[in-house]
């Protein structure tokens, strides 16, 4: 098993190198000069040049062929890309161009907010979506099945930003039950340990803080959970329906097993494989969907932050944020593969 995981990790290397390359390409291709963005349109030319040199922007993108033609091998490799790679290896994500704060610092602060939101949404999506899918498959063509499948189709079709806005309108503007946005009210203090406020408030025994956090989390979580929930429910249903037609389900029935056992023991474990794939894909999509949700609910996570950085040409943030998201995505895919190998004895992993 361990060997299988290691082998999978090795195959990830080219993907990760490709990812860093794409990220690098994009941020350099986006029009606009970060030095100008830093100093303003009317900055003196020599100042801009100085900043460009400081940031290494005066170096060629990949390789310096002029230097090589002079016989200088060292300068040949001294390019923006290789500087970026060597910084990455040293886990140096750089300093925000506009705010002059180390990217890693802000990331450490903002990332848990996104994780908290995404994890909670994913948990809701899984714990609601899978049972709904199973019940729909077991009671195929019943009213329950029709209702949940139409519901999930609407869920799949839902623009989450619109759903979020409708939630705000109903719960914050009309009913005034929940706050319209933000992560926590300014008056509430929660000791930070993990920066996941739900966890922190529980650890420190801050029960009012816990419910306060939950209040702020409620609307963005529901908005973010809707689509994955719908997709998971649909996938579970169709996968279960497929499995329920298999011969071994007939065998299980012929043995006289109770329906519950046939469904949950014999069908579910087989039906789970495609569902896991979809959960993996959705988990990644969730992180991206956070861009929209975080914008609407003024959630201080990384989605909104990276989005603003793209528009503001703040390279180091774009670089750090996207890389982190992409790496998580790749990691989730690895987890999916590993769980496949665990669930299905037919997959050889040695």
């Amino acid at each position: 098993m361990l060997r299988y995981i290691i082998r999978r990790l090795i195959t990830l290397v080219p993907t990760i190198i490709g990812v860093t390359f794409v990220i690098f390409m994009f941020q350099r291709l986006i029009p606009g000069d970060p030095a100008v963005a830093m100093l303003g349109e009317h900055a003196a030319k020599e100042n801009v040049e100085r900043i460009r040199e400081q940031l290494g922007l005066n170096r060629p993108l990949f390789l310096d062929r002029e230097a090589l033609a002079q016989g200088d091998l060292k300068t040949f490799f001294d390019s923006q890309y290789f500087r970026y790679l060597s910084r990455l290896v040293r886990l140096d994500l750089g300093v925000s161009i506009h705010r002059r704060i180390p990217v890693a610092e802000t990331l450490a602060q903002r990332f848990p907010a996104t994780v908290e939101l995404a994890l909670l949404s994913m948990m809701i999506a899984i714990f609601v979506g899978i049972p709904v899918g199973i019940i729909s498959a077991a009671r195929r063509n019943s009213i329950l099945d029709s209702v949940s499948m139409i519901g999930s189709l609407i869920g799949v079709s839902m623009p989450i930003f619109w759903l979020g806005l409708m939630e705000i309108m109903l719960f914050a503007v009309i009913l005034k039950w929940l706050p319209a946005g933000g992560r926590i009210s300014t008056g509430t203090h929660i000791e930070t340990v993990t920066n996941l406020l739900l966890v922190d408030s529980l650890i420190t025994g801050n029960i009012p803080g816990f419910f306060e956090t939950l209040k702020y989390l409620a609307m963005p979580t529901i908005a973010l959970a809707t689509i994955p929930m719908a997709i998971i429910a649909r996938m579970t249903r169709s996968s279960m329906l497929d499995v329920l037609q298999e011969d071994y389900i007939r065998t299980a029935n012929a043995k006289g097993l109770v329906e519950r056992v046939v469904l949950f023991r014999h069908a579910l474990k087989n039906a789970f494989l495609p569902v896991i794939t979809i959960i993996g894909i959705q988990a990644g999509t969730l992180l991206a969907g956070a861009v929209l949700t975080e914008t609407i609910f003024a959630w201080p996570g990384i989605g909104k932050w990276v989005y603003d950085a793209i528009l503001g040409r703040d390279y180091p943030i774009v670089q750090g944020g996207t890389l982190l998201i992409a790496l998580i995505f790749v990691f989730i895919n690895l987890m999916v593969d590993v769980s496949y190998a665990v669930l299905d004895p037919r997959i050889h992993y040695d």
Binding site: D247, R250, T251, K255, G256, H266, K269, P345, R346
Partner: protein, 331 residues
């Protein structure tokens, strides 16, 4: 003697987009305890569906048992509750299916799948059940049974899987074993082994066996009674000798005629029944075999002949003209 299983006028239907498939059309017969019954016919003749109807494993919808009674040890299975039926399945009536490749759950060990039935019906604890499962596996001829309990189905060969299926079916010593084409998906040599295995196990357990197949050779070797089915009807029923040597129904005649024979002249063409079985949605009035029958008369296309005694009271045939055919063929 009370029959173990008595089927009366069983009709099974499937409701599809294209129409109602009349899969079983009024099948009636009785099966005695300890008897081996062969059910033969082409694919799609309703032999598997009638067996699944006995187990009440017809997928509903689209399937539906429209009419009839299935009396097992004096109780009508069709009126039993879901739970009552469940207790009979696996314990009193067990079933072995056609494709051993897909009939075992790929994500559980073979042992687990046998133990499951044992703990369910016999109330054994895990250790007892495991011991029993190992015994069963070695009984069906799997070497190193104790070790192989922990193997997954994909680590078994096709023949071994079918042996495991049989072990699973026999685990609770059922009174009736339904074997639905258990050898079709296997190699010929393995087929013979499985047939011998079931034969010897039948002697040992004394259970009744319903062996469904399209292979006339296999049943000749195994069965005492034979039902020949065509388009959801039993067209001829009798003991092995009657079916093979005093064949009365033209379909059975054709079926036996299409077997290759060793005593035939080399290079002789193998005979085949002309035409195809009827579409079960648009089943014709009258005898379903009429369109392919060389002996048909007017009456055959309008009225379905009843299943009635031919030469002996236990040899039944559903044909208006069996006597004429007998004479014609004698000439």
């Amino acid at each position: 003697m009370q029959a173990l299983l008595e089927i009366k006028n069983l009709k099974t239907r499937f409701h599809t987009d294209e129409g109602v498939v009349k899969a079983v059309n009024g099948v009636s017969y009785a099966l005695q305890p300890g008897e081996i019954l062969g059910v033969v016919g082409e694919s799609g003749c309703g032999k598997s569906v009638h067996a699944l109807s006995v187990m009440r494993l017809i997928p509903t919808p689209p399937g539906e048992i429209a009419e009839g009674e299935i009396i097992f040890e004096g109780r009508d299975l069709l009126t039993l509750s879901k739970d009552g039926m469940r207790q009979i399945r696996g314990r009193d009536i067990a079933m072995v299916f056609q494709d051993p490749m897909t009939s075992l759950n790929p994500v559980y060990t073979v042992g687990f799948q046998i133990i499951e039935a044992l703990t369910l019906h016999l109330g054994l604890d895990h250790n007892q059940a495991r011991k029993r499962a190992a015994e069963l596996l070695s009984m069906v001829g799997i070497p190193q049974a104790e070790k192989r309990l922990d193997d997954y189905p994909h680590q078994f060969s096709g023949g071994m899987r079918q042996r495991a299926m049989i072990a699973m079916a026999l685990s609770c010593a059922p009174k009736l074993l339904i074997a639905d084409e258990p050898t079709t998906a296997l190699d010929v040599t393995i087929q013979a082994q499985i047939v011998d295995l079931v034969k010897s196990l039948q002697k040992e357990f004394g259970m009744a066996v319903m062996w469904i197949t399209h292979d006339l050779g296999v049943v000749a070797e195994l069965a005492q009674m034979i039902n020949v089915m065509y388009a959801g009807y039993i067209v001829e029923r009798g003991n092995v000798r009657e079916i093979y040597y005093q064949t009365r129904h033209p379909y059975t005649i054709g079926l036996l005629g299409s077997l290759p024979r060793l005593d035939e002249a080399p290079g002789a063409r193998l005979y085949s029944i002309p035409g195809l079985p009827p579409d079960l949605i648009t089943l014709p009035d009258g005898c379903p075999f009429a369109a392919r029958c060389p002996y048909k008369v007017e009456q055959c296309t309008t009225d379905m002949p009843p299943l009635q005694p031919a030469d002996s009271p236990n040899h039944l045939v559903a044909c208006w003209r069996w006597k004429d055919i007998l004479e014609e063929r004698a000439q």
